[in-house]
Amino acid sequence: MLTLRSPLKTADRELARFRFRAALAGVAVVAAFALLMARFFHLQIVQHEYYTTRAEDNRISLVPIVPNRGVIADSKGVVLARNYSAFTLEITPSKVDDLEATIEALGKIIEILPKDRKRFRRLLEESKTFESLPIRSRLSEEEVARFAANRYLFPGVEVKARLFRQYPLGPIGAHAIGYIGRINKKDLELIEESEQAANYKGTDHIGKTGLEQSYEFHLHGETGYEQVEIDAGGRAIRSLSRTAPVQGNNLTLTLDIKLQEMAERAFGDRRGALVAIEPATGGILALVSTPTFDPNLFVDGIRSDDWDLLNNSPDRPLLNRALNGAYPPGSTFKPFMALAALETGKRTPGQSIADPGFFNFGGHQFRDDKKGGHGMVDMHKSIVHSCDTYYYILANDMGIDSIARFMSQLSFGQRTGVDIEGESEGVLPSPEWKKRRFKRPEQQKWFAGETVSIGIGQGYNAYTPIQLAQATAVVANSGVMFRPHLVRYIVDSRTGEKTMIEPEPMRVLPWKRQHVEVIKRAMVGVNTHGTGAKAFAGAGYVAAGKTGTAQVFSLKGAEYKSSRVKKELRDHALFIAFAPVDEPKIALAVLVENGGFGAQSAAPIARMVFDYYLLGKLPQGAAAEDDVEDD
């Protein structure tokens, strides 16, 4: 019995144990599934909102739509900067594994020149991390089609239709208009500081110089956005909503591009600058700096050979001489000195001096250009014939502080506030300036002898052509000063509303009317029977002017003969003028670097500009350059 029961009992026990284990498994299964349900509950109920947002973020992408940049036109409506659309082939380096191999393979489908590669490499070094960079621009329709057929071979490479900036007149007015270029790290900082970061998403060009830079935020416009549904591969599936971009505002300039072109041509291959201002408004009619350059080269990122050519040229075409070149004004300083003498009561117009041809001061002889002197010289004659001795004595009588105080009212030695960035200050010499300028105590001291040369626009005097033009315009306008500006008005692209720039005078200098008249008459005399007479012979209007020659190189008493001096060491030629004298429509300053005498090389340029602007006359060949009286 026992022997029979035993295995049975064992079997029963086995079965019981087995059922226990099966039940245990059942419990474990239920527990595991309960855990899963808890997880689902957590994901789908507790964190539902979070994951919904994540799914939406996944699904929806905001694609910026870059606005069209505003157009720049001259005062007559001639377009100076516009946009055109073209196809570019672009690579997003972060999406490409082997950049070299990709470019190599692309080169088999679309022509990629070594210069394109070079430029691409340069862009790569400067670029923001995730942007796409152009490897080829201006693709033909055929090239676009060829790439489209092979697109699947090139992840991270795409053809984009982009708007390009174009300067249809090329180098004409390049220093005023400026150019745009690709946004670099410094630009990015500026954009962020200006709280424009959101508006510049998708934008990859920005104004770098000239008006393109200073009116950047007007020209740029407002970026639009498109909400698109994208798939996991980042491909846009469909558009959900679209906020249209707002085109940038257009600029209408005071600049007359025909006048500008004419003035640039008048310089020929000489280096120099010219600023012409409408005295009654401060509007700049022409802003010349020669040699100039083609701003179109910069738009796509300049090629390195072009860059080297521009950057290494001894003529420094990229330098904006009109705003950043500082030159001694030479004798063009004299009318302002004379006005200062009248206004401070140091001289009356009729007061005369006897000019022996030199002025001795502190054991040093300050010589006049004319041997033997000009004889008896009053204020009128001192300007008409550019008598140095008169101004040596005057400067000494006035003293440096008085001179500096008067000249600073005229914007000498200060930024004029023109609407282009980076203007230089120039140097208006004074004892304070010397203290700031020099470190060693013995250099900081102002010597009375230094005041003497200031009187004829030499010494430490150094002004930008725009400062000289501005001072001339203020005299022409009898003391009413406007901030010089290139933009007449901004046209709001949405409303068409025009916003005028600088309609109000900046300051009115309380000059006596008869004082200004004395100066103006003397400057007219310059052009009728003085140093500018040759250049202005037969002009159909009454022009006021003053010639000037700025010493580049001190000859230490030796006779200056331009033919014997190397060209780079020749004097700079200057000329300031305005016309017509009774109701001035144009005031200007001309500077020809190493041009020699102002009367010879600078005054004829002024004549051509006036003839064109006042009479519509185009120049008939170059003016004669011989046989003129020295300044």
């Binding site: 059942g26 299964v29 899963l36 997880r39 994901l43 789908q44 994951y51 994540r54």
Partner: protein, 368 residues
Amino acid sequence: MFQDLLLRLRARLVARVDGPLLCIMLALMASGLATVYSATYDAHNRVLAQSLNMAVGLCAMWMVAQLPPPKLMRFGVPLYALGLVLLVLVFFFGTKVNGARRWLSLGFTRIQPSELLKLAVPLMLAWYLHKHEAALKLRHYAIAAVLLLLPFALIAKQPDLGTAILVGAAGFYVLFFAGLPWQAIAGLLGAAAAAAPFAWTMMHDYQRKRILTLIDPTSDPLGAGYHIIQSTIAIGSGGGFGKGWLAGTQTHLEFIPERHTDFIFAVFAEEHGLFGAGVLVVLYLLLIGRGLMITANASTLFSRVIAGSITLSLFTYAFVNMGMVAGILPVVGVPLPFMSYGGTALVTLSVSVGILMSIQSHRMLVRK
């Protein structure tokens, strides 16, 4: 007469088929088809192919259900031996796909022998333990464990951790239901824990990465963590009742990887929400519950352990898959039973259910 014949034929057809199991399986297959449709209709639709797979699976299930357990037992040794030989062949001559040697090329087609082991291993172990039923000693368990470890190691070496775990689990369940003493189980667990650091160094980089990304999926959001991040977003954004069939954005914008195969649950949960997930979990619970019931009622040791192993394997598939998709288990290649697209797994699972049906329908016969 003819009607009589029809009736007999019908009786013959349904005789061995377990109603509840079939119903649950059909319900799962239907949701699977609908989800595969949603997951693939943007690209090439796979519904037809999956329907064919299901038809083949149902036929296989029916045929297996006809075989009485003693006959099934006879398949144990030859299947196991064949599987092992094939695994060794894979080890030496296998075709490498994506860095893993899992396939054996037969010239006209490729087979994945590890799939065969999912059934061969429990059959073999059950047969062996059944043979020694009268006096099961620790020695027998030890030999069974070696029989289990051999294919486990070969599959893990391929590497195919997912399948290795499933095969290992199936074998372990056999030992468990056969009465492996608790001390031995505890010892095994202890040994596993002790071996973990060693196993870590043995693991392939991608396997380690998968475990690390489970802890912090954001550590590699575009690489290994991508699957988990996107599938949890899909599940979470589904909410209580889901975005609706064919309306899952994560699915249709292709953010969910492997969405018609291993990650099909993410599609389902995105489109049907917590409610849908609950229904699905209940279906699996019913399937497993029915399996455990069959297990409890089975009449022989072989039937019991094989039914128990199959049932818990079904659970393991479902749990590991959903747990992985929901981000609580590492990513291993385990399909969701009867839902995921793919013929091989479907046939294997159908055959498993067929074995359960056979055990259920033949239990009286054995008693008699």
